[in-house]
Amino acid sequence: MGKRRRLKFDKKPEGLILNSLVDIALSLVIGFIVTIPLFFESGIFVNTPGVAKASSGDVSDIKVNIHLLDNGAIMLNEETVSYERLEELLPELLARSVARKVIVSTEQNVKYERVVQILDLAKQKGAGELALLRSRQ
């Protein structure tokens, strides 16, 4: 059997150990960097809020018309769809459009949050331009 070397624990560390302090400080900074976008307000650009016009002579590129009803229903190009179905259909419809424009109209008592939810979804699915209509024709 060889000699077992005894570890010496009685030696006091020289100076101050700052490792843990630096770790905490770094964690705080990283946490700060990660959470700051949550506090920061951003925005979605919207186009002219106007009144819907229907001109028989115009050839329109628009392929996505979303209408929100007071009862929570969503109508996509005159057909009632669920939110999940809208998520599926939006990329397909936008792919057919050159301008990739989405027009959103609502009934009178629709909450603003629902409209922004739809605008956000449209942007995520590749919409180029968002337009809000005051009334549906």
């Binding site: 700052l18 700060f32 949550l38 951003s42 919207v46 909450k111 922004v116 605008l119 956000d120």
Partner: protein, 129 residues
């Protein structure tokens, strides 16, 4: 000659930590566009960047404010026009509470557009996931 001792770094580290904490607390207040508290809707899309803007706030109790100054709805076009005369390309951000009716917000957007605003955005906040 008297020799200088080691620099005591602990107070400096403590001051640094306190500064970080203070910055974390103050940053949300500084980085919002105005001091008027509004629960804006959540959205993943973030198109606008930090820049000089004109903020139109519409609160849940139907108060209308332009750059934190409360105005009457009929005063909105004049106030916006006066601000846009200084810079016609100024970004107009509409901060509306998520609980208000969209028709009310749309009326504000329409009035802002009529005054000649070229860039209009709806304020949103990143969702916490």
């Amino acid at each position: 000659m008297k020799q200088m001792g080691n620099i005591d770094i602990l107070p400096m580290a403590c001051v640094g930590l306190i500064l970080v904490l203070v910055m974390m607390m103050i940053a949300p207040l500084v980085m919002t566009h105005t001091q008027t508290s509004v629960d804006v809707p959540m959205a993943h899309t973030a198109e606008t960047k930090t820049e000089e803007n004109l903020t139109v706030t519409y609160t849940v109790d139907n108060r209308l404010l332009v750059n934190d100054v409360e105005i009457l709805p009929e005063q909105l076009p004049d106030v916006i026009s006066a601000e846009l005369d200084k810079d016609p390309f100024q970004l107009v951000i509409v901060r509306a509470d998520k609980e208000v009716y969209h028709s009310d917000v749309l009326e504000i957007l329409a009035q802002v557009k009529r005054t000649g605003a070229k860039r209009i955005a709806c304020a949103t906040k990143k969702p916490r996931e």
